[in-house]
């Protein structure tokens, strides 16, 4: 085993001449039988099969639980009626569905234009500049900041001055989470466009701005869409920031800018934790199933679109 004793040497320093002459202290003589090593290899592989089944099995368990609990609840009434306090019949989740739709779309509207512009800067103008490095670094860091902190931040800058929780504040919070995600994918996608395209456009006399918008961005269109959709999928299930910003209400989301707005994640939280009633729990499972399905479908859809682009 060459690597074995190489490793020992580096770990404990090189062997002295005396150690090497003495067969008892010469580490090179300490070899393990092939059978032992093969057996160990098999054991580890068995463990990895076990662990991967555990992981995939655990995930499948979660998914199946959500499906089996949620699928019975969903019917036409459930999807078209607004949520109501316990005891009132015909309650649904329609207001939360629309609220979540509004909030996530609001987040997209707020975050996508600046995020794409920022990605363009990183990829086209400031790729190797100091400020580009700083911005890329802060985008990476911001992607890992806990979402609950984003909720706190937006609470201070929007909810307190406006004096009320609102769907708009929720949209801003989700936009802050989405911003670095879309920016980084934009940068990566633009980076994949071949340089010859840019050079041809510039050689025709186009300005950098036109080259970027009409040639580079168009060439990377599918990638940009992928980034936006993945960002949307990611934020549509975010709960913690919405607890601090959009909160919840049983009414239709008509006062998006000045009233707490119903949304799916907070509805699930409310129904699952703050309610002792089985019916509410069931409704929570139904909502959970819908949000899981939406997130998974967006992800699968974008993956397929992206792959066909690659295959060409």
């Amino acid at each position: 085993m060459v690597f074995k004793y190489h490793k020992r040497e580096t770990r404990r320093g090189t062997l002295t001449q005396m150690q090497m002459n003495n067969p008892k202290t010469d580490l090179r003589t300490k070899r393990r039988s092939l059978r032992f090593r093969k057996w160990k290899d098999k054991l580890v592989r068995l463990f990895s099969i076990f662990s991967i089944t555990l992981v995939v099995g655990g995930m499948a368990w979660i998914l199946l639980t959500v499906i089996s609990h949620g699928v019975g609840v969903i019917d036409f009434k459930f999807l078209t009626q607004p949520s109501k306090p316990y005891g009132i019949p015909d309650s649904g989740i329609a207001n939360a569905l629309i609220g979540t739709l509004l909030i996530t779309l609001g987040a997209a509207v707020l975050s996508v234009p600046p995020a794409i512009a920022g990605g363009i800067y990183l990829s086209e103008f400031g790729k190797y500049s100091k400020i580009g490095h700083f911005i890329r670094f802060s985008a990476n860091v911001m992607m890992g900041i806990p979402s609950v902190i984003v909720g706190l931040f937006v609470y201070i800058i929007l909810v307190v001055p406006m004096g009320t929780f609102s769907g708009f504040a929720g949209a801003v919070a989700l936009a802050i989470i989405m911003f670095p995600l879309v920016m980084r994918t934009t940068e990566d996608m633009l980076g994949m466009v071949p340089y010859t395209l840019r050079e041809s456009a510039l050689a025709l006399g186009m300005t950098r701005a036109r080259t970027t918008i009409c040639i580079v961005a168009r060439a990377a269109k599918n990638g940009l869409l992928t980034g936006i959709l993945l960002g949307l999928a990611r934020v549509s299930g975010e709960t913690a920031p919405l607890l601090f910003t959009a909160l919840f209400s049983d009414s239709w989301p008509t006062e998006f800018f000045s009233q707490p707005t119903a949304n799916m994640p907070v509805l699930i939280t409310e129904y699952a934790t703050n309610s002792p009633f089985e019916e509410m729990h069931a409704a929570g499972w139904g909502a959970a199933l819908i949000i899981t399905l939406v997130v998974l479908l967006i992800n699968i859809f974008t993956r397929i679109v992206f792959r066909t682009r690659h295959a060409k």
Partner: protein
């Protein structure tokens, strides 16, 4: 045709004006892009400034002792951050201890599999990483916690008598109700597994085939190759992945909130109910006012600092690796 040779004024010739306008739009475009990109840096700094500003009250009231005081008494307005900090660290540690070995060997196996199956499994894992955390929380609350209470914890404490072994028993604790650090750590580990596994898989796949083949050539088994060659080659990337998982576990709110039990007390055992910073924030914020609110902002600042430190470290680690093998890719 030369514009200047014709004697036209450089400033007023229509072609020049147009060209200048073009370059002006170019500059404007670049500036707009720069401003938009700069927003993210501003936001990052803004987070710190805003949270520091809002938590001034707490720091004034309790001073730095806030960090290691374990009191939490909303009635007499005495607060300390220690229970939340310790809880955060404890759940994160449990999650990592469970998730790390599992994701390591899973990634080892994923790279090793026939391409088709490996690809499907990787895709499935990537998809599962996108499930919202609230789903994990709900599953934990309704499915895992009762199972822990009725089967796992009684089995560990009563059947295996782990509670009677001196040191381990002290760690586990004797009272159990299904909620607490252990359950929260389990759910967290399940949540961060796909992330860590994906990064490890990429690092494993990035190792130059020549290195692997040389190892096989001198007679290493697959496990020895992974352990001695691949890990050494990608150790920085692996650590970066671990830190990204760590950052995720640290700030996770909903999955933890549902199963941690929400008791603001110093944990004495794994089966205890407790709290984490994120759970304290989400749980107490709605009814907090005055000093308590600024205390919560101070907790938020602590969490932000912790996760910021970890992210910076992870970025630095991952960056140095990608720079190192930038040529080889």
């Amino acid at each position: 045709m030369s514009i200047i040779a014709e004697g036209a004024c450089f400033r007023t010739h229509p072609l020049c004006v147009r060209e200048k306008a073009m370059f002006a739009t170019d500059n404007i475009f670049k500036t707009i892009c720069l401003i938009c990109a700069g927003l993210i840096g501003l936001l990052m700094i803004g987070f710190f400034v805003q949270l520091a500003f809002s938590s001034v009250g707490a720091w004034k009231e309790f001073g730095l002792a806030f960090l290691w005081s374990s009191e939490w008494d909303p009635v007499s307005e005495k607060f300390g951050a220690l229970p939340s900090i310790v809880g955060t660290l404890l759940t994160t540690t449990i999650a990592l201890v469970i998730a790390l070995p599992l994701s390591f060997v899973s990634a080892f196996y994923l790279v090793d599999l026939p391409v088709a199956i490996g690809k499907i499994l990787s895709q499935a894992l990537d998809l599962l990483a996108t499930i919202p955390s609230i789903i994990y929380g709900m599953w934990g609350l309704f499915i895992l916690a009762p199972i822990m209470q009725n089967y796992v914890q009684p089995f560990m404490v009563d059947t295996l008598r782990l509670g009677d072994i001196p040191i381990i028993g002290r760690f586990l604790g004797e009272d159990y109700n299904g909620f607490g650090f252990f359950t929260a750590g389990l759910i967290l580990s399940l949540m961060i597994l796909p992330y860590i596994c994906a990064i490890m898989r990429d690092i494993f796949a990035m190792t130059p085939p020549m290195l692997r083949e040389s190892a096989y050539g001198v007679g290493c088994t697959k496990w020895e190759t992974t352990k001695d060659i691949v890990v050494r080659y990608g150790i920085r990337g692996l650590l970066g992945g671990v830190f990204i998982g760590l950052g995720r576990a640290l700030g996770e709110t909903m999955a933890v909130l549902f199963v941690i039990g929400n008791m603001t007390q110093l944990p004495s055992a794994l089966f205890d109910s407790g709290t984490t910073i994120a759970a304290t924030l989400a749980n107490n914020f709605p009814e907090a006012a005055g000093v308590q609110q600024s205390v919560l902002f101070a907790l938020g600042l602590i969490l932000l600092t912790m996760s910021f430190g970890i992210q910076v470290f992870a970025q630095w680690y991952l960056n140095t690796t990608s720079a190192k093998r930038g040529e080889e890719r």
